[in-house]
Amino acid sequence: MAERSALSTMWARVQTWEGFLVCALIFIVLMNTALSPQFMTLTNQINLFQLSIEKIIVALVMTFVIINAEIDLSVGSMIGLAACAFGFLFQAGVDPVLAIGIVLVIGALGGALNGVFIAYVGLPSLVVTLATLIGFRGLARVLVEDRGITDFPEWFDALGQKGLVGPIPFALIAFFVLFAVLWVVLQRSGFGRQTYVIGTNREVAAFAGIDTARHKLILFTGSGLVSAFAGLLYAARVGAVRGDVALGFELDIITMVLLGGVSIFGGSGTMLGTLLAILIVLNLRNGMALLNITGHIQTGVIGILLIASVLLPRLNLGKWLGSPASREPSA
């Protein structure tokens, strides 16, 4: 009997959206391992993270933003602006460590700019961040014009390209630390709970005494800050910056978050879901790349996956795939 109840608990877990994602992930990993001998090597596994590190780091904060029923389209441009600002400052002879600090401040200020217009002027985030998507990208181009900036200090490049602990690079460690911190904040703290409440119903949240405007300001500032950090990681990883760094990243990032089961209408989703979606997207792309399938087709496959992720729970396979209700936070 005990064995049976353990089985049914497991079955209950599989029924949630996260459970479905885990099954999909296992399937993809097994397929990849069977199809390509290079897949399961440590180098490939690290590479797989390393190549998309900027996107997956920003996807973590985007989870907060979308659960809050907002959207931040400006992240790709902020990654680009941060990378270019670092290049600009470095070329102007500013000490690299100071430059890193300044870039992070720029990120926070850019995010706060979004936040003020959204939270205090009351404009829709889609419109505000669309405008800053264009604006931040423009500033990036102003800073580097049509040059490429390279020749960063060796330690800075090493941070992005070499292993910090054994073969594991700094960026990967940063990703998991950020994930752990944000998991605690979203799933275990008052701020996280407020994020869900505001995302479910802003008016109700305001009646419940939550300062929704301040909350949104903090959220968007955080989004800008993390995007700027991702921009620095880009500069270190590639060792060069240009005006078109991270062009179009916003769509990939949002796709990852939505695939993770975060509702576009806000109020539901989990950090774990986003992590699983990130792993699925990375492994799927990597598997396809090993099979020589081109980038545009890969993106197309991810697109199909995105529609499927919303449709599947609806088709009343819901009974065994997890109904939308089970996609709500368990916390």
Partner: protein, 352 residues
Amino acid sequence: MRFLASLNPQTLRILALLLVLALVVLFFSTQINNYLNGRLFNRISSSVAIMALIATAQTLVILTRNIDLSVGSVVGFTAFATGSMIASFPNLHPLLLVSYSMLIGACFGAFNGFFVAYARVPAIIVTLATLALFRSLLVEFADGRSITSSQLPQWLTSFPNTRLLEIGQFQFRASFVVAVIVVITVHIALQKLRAARKLYAIGSNPEAAAMAGINQKATVFIAFVCAGALAGLAGFMFLARFGNITVVAGLGFELKSVAAAVVGGVNIFGGSGTVLGALIGAVLVDLIETSLVRWPLVSEFWREAVLGALILTAVALDAIVMRRLIALRAAKHHEKREKEIGTEPVVEARDG
């Protein structure tokens, strides 16, 4: 202030946009030598023709509380497919070719519309996915080839710049005239046709629209199909204008079209806005972009930065001014009703 308050908010918005447009032209004419002449009009009018169509398509969808992020991919695919078609069958009748473009666009629109209206997947998710999907279809279809203008017949490549009408220095080129005719047709349809008014009804209050017996699913579906057909037409114009088409054609048009619509006063949450506004929005964005490149005081790299700032300012100002005006109208309406009743003012909670 009284006069302003008596105007319809939509008319007011268009007047305000025209005023801003005039101010921008005036400003740049003091900054750039030889700015204010017919060539400016000719330049802007021919470059805005494609975006005007895409912004119109976007507006139809936004009015119903949805969004179409796949328009850029639809434009790219249609331009490529139309190019291959005419390259294989050079004697095809122009009207057949245009219908072909619009049909392809409409099919893509129907795909989006089916998932949004009938499968009830949020438009932002569907079109985010089809943005990638349609582009990868194009990559498959193109298979490494690209369309070059030498493959295209003479009539097609010379069409956009054909001068239909010339008044002094002002040339009305075919592409611009077609775009304006389409925009005005759609505008009149949206204002006068009962079927088209459903878009506004659904966008401003879906529940009320459903209660009024409007078939929401069919209407949203048709909005996407029409938007697709317009994007297809834009693809045709894109092919005619540029001649050389690769798989990246139309990349990034989705966000530009949303920007043009929003600057033109189309409410991103549906229910209000006009395609005329979207056209002026597209002109404004294009005018600023083009003029900044010619402004000697700033380097051309400032173009996007200033554009972003301007969109943000325009939208913020619009929101603040409109809020005030609507409050003013409400107050006036209230005052009038008080006079009519002629008794103690009745304070209703929703007016305050």
